[in-house]
Structures are given as C-alpha cells and as structure tokens.
Amino acid sequence: MPINMIPGRHQAARRGADAFLRALGSEQITLRIADPSAGDTNSQLGITPPTASDVQIAPAVVEVVTPAPDGTRRIQVMLGAKGLQPVADSYGVTDIPAWLLGSQGLVYRGQLMPIKSVTSNCFAGSEYLYLLIATE
C-alpha cells in the first residue's frame, strides 16, 4: 500500500519528532499566555494589567543562538506537536503558530522573551515540529 494511503500516517512524523527531541535532551520550556481580557474600561485604558498563565511544555530543545544585530540575546526552541497539541487543545486553539506568536512569550532563565517567529513542519497535512525564535 502506498504510504500516502495509510491512515494516521502523520502520527509517524509526530512520534519521530518527539523521540528526536527527547534524544537531544528533553528539556522543558515555559510559555506565558495572556488570560482572556476582562474587556472593561480599565483594561482598555491600560490601567488594569493583563493577567497571564505559565504553561510548561516538554519535550523541548533550547539553544542560545547568535545575538540579533542590535546585541539582544536570542534563543531557538524546538517543540514537538505531540507535546504541544494537548496544551493547545486545552485552550481551544486550532492555529498553533498564530497562538504562539500571540502569546506573551517564553520564560527562559527567569526572563520573558517574546516569540518573534514560528516555523512549523508538516507531514501528511499535519504539523509535527515547531521551530521558535525568541528574543530579549
């Protein structure tokens, strides 16, 4: 049977990516997500700060990469769909890259680093690996 006719074949890439991330160290990263806004006047006027939740995602591979041209620190994070999907599902998210970009950022060594880019890798119409770049 041709591979493109095997049902659930995208799970192979997901499991492979998950195993790959675990083999590279299986770290954990914290994603900070803004809680739903109250939408009241105080939040619109910038008086009431938005609250946020920290979510642990594993396995992850975190690498410190070349600083940006202005000298700010950058990190590159690889996340697997197998670890990220359950978290996204709990928030009712369907577009994971957009959700990550809309988050407050990653907490790395106590510092919040906004996510600047998200690249997703797909196999058989399903995402299996995400590459994130976050900066100070």
Binding site: D35, P36, G39, L45, G46
Partner: protein
C-alpha cells in the same frame, strides 16, 4: 494630560457603540468596540486589526503661548480594511467609506467632559476638552488593504495634581 487622552478615547468609544454597534473586535478573548489606544496595548501586541480604529497620540504644545494655559495635543486615528471575503474583497472601497463615516460621526460633537479615570471610575474634573474637525489623509493602498489616517488636535487645560 492623561485625563485628556482617556476622556477622548472613552467619548469616541461610547459614540461608536451608539453609531455602529456591530463594529466590534475581539482582543485577548474579549469582544469590545473596534477602537483601541495603541499605547494602552501590550508592546508585543498583534498587528493592527482590520476595520478598527487605532488612536496614536502625538506631540503637545501650548495652543496660544502668549495667552493662558490652553494646550493642544495631536491625535492620529488610523484604520484599514480589506473588504469582505464574501464579496471577493471587491468592497474594500465601500468598507473604507463605512469606516470614514463612522469616524466622522464619532468625532462630532467635537467636545466632551474631561474625567479622571485613574481610580478606575470616571471622576469629573469640571472642564471640557474639545478638538478640531478631523482631517482625512489620502487613501493608503497597501494590497490587500486600503486605509487612511485622520488627525485631530485636542485642546485641553492641564490641571494641577493631574498626571
């Protein structure tokens, strides 16, 4: 100065609810009138949404340096649209005209009471702010969007002990 910014925004927001109640946006899970003060949003907020008004505060100076303490502050209101998918985005011009109508409507009358919102509730400060007629910029065509900016000068008296 902050009371002027807040009062101007709240006045326009409340008028937008009356003029076009369907014009809403959803930010961080909350649906609200489609008018936003850019400086009140997180620095890493998402790019500006379509069909929404974004207020940007500019410079301030004495309106009549030789007489009194009246000040003026510039406010730019930016908005853009890409039309609707149902109409193949061919209604971009109509969408922009609708936004133009709304922004002209909410800017009139060109005055409102000045209130202090720092405590979380509107505390009247006993004066009014007023502003010029909106000046519409040329249309900005940046496919798939078309948009525009309007500018108004908002006049106010700075108050003692006012942040």
């Amino acid at each position: 100065m902050q009371a002027t910014k807040d009062s101007f925004y709240v006045a326009l927001r409340n008028r937008l609810v009356a003029v076009d109640p369907q014009r809403t946006i959803t930010i961080d899970g909350a649906t609200r009138p489609a008018i936003v003060v850019a400086e009140n949003e997180p620095p890493n907020a998402a790019p500006p949404l379509c069909d929404a008004f974004y207020l940007h505060w500019g410079g301030a100076r004495a309106a009549l340096p030789a007489a009194g303490t009246l000040m003026e502050m510039e406010c730019t209101i930016a908005y853009r649209t890409k039309g609707t998918d149902q109409n193949g985005n061919l209604d971009r011009g109509r969408g922009l005209a609708s936004l133009d109508n709304d922004v002209l409507a909410i800017c009139y009358p060109p005055q409102t009471a000045k209130c202090d919102y720092c405590s979380g509730a509107a505390v009247p400060l006993g004066s009014t702010i007023f502003w010029t007629q909106p000046a519409l910029s040329a249309l900005v065509n940046a496919p798939p969007y078309i948009g525009r900016e309007i500018t108004v000068s908002v006049f106010f008296y700075p108050e003692v002990n006012q942040t």
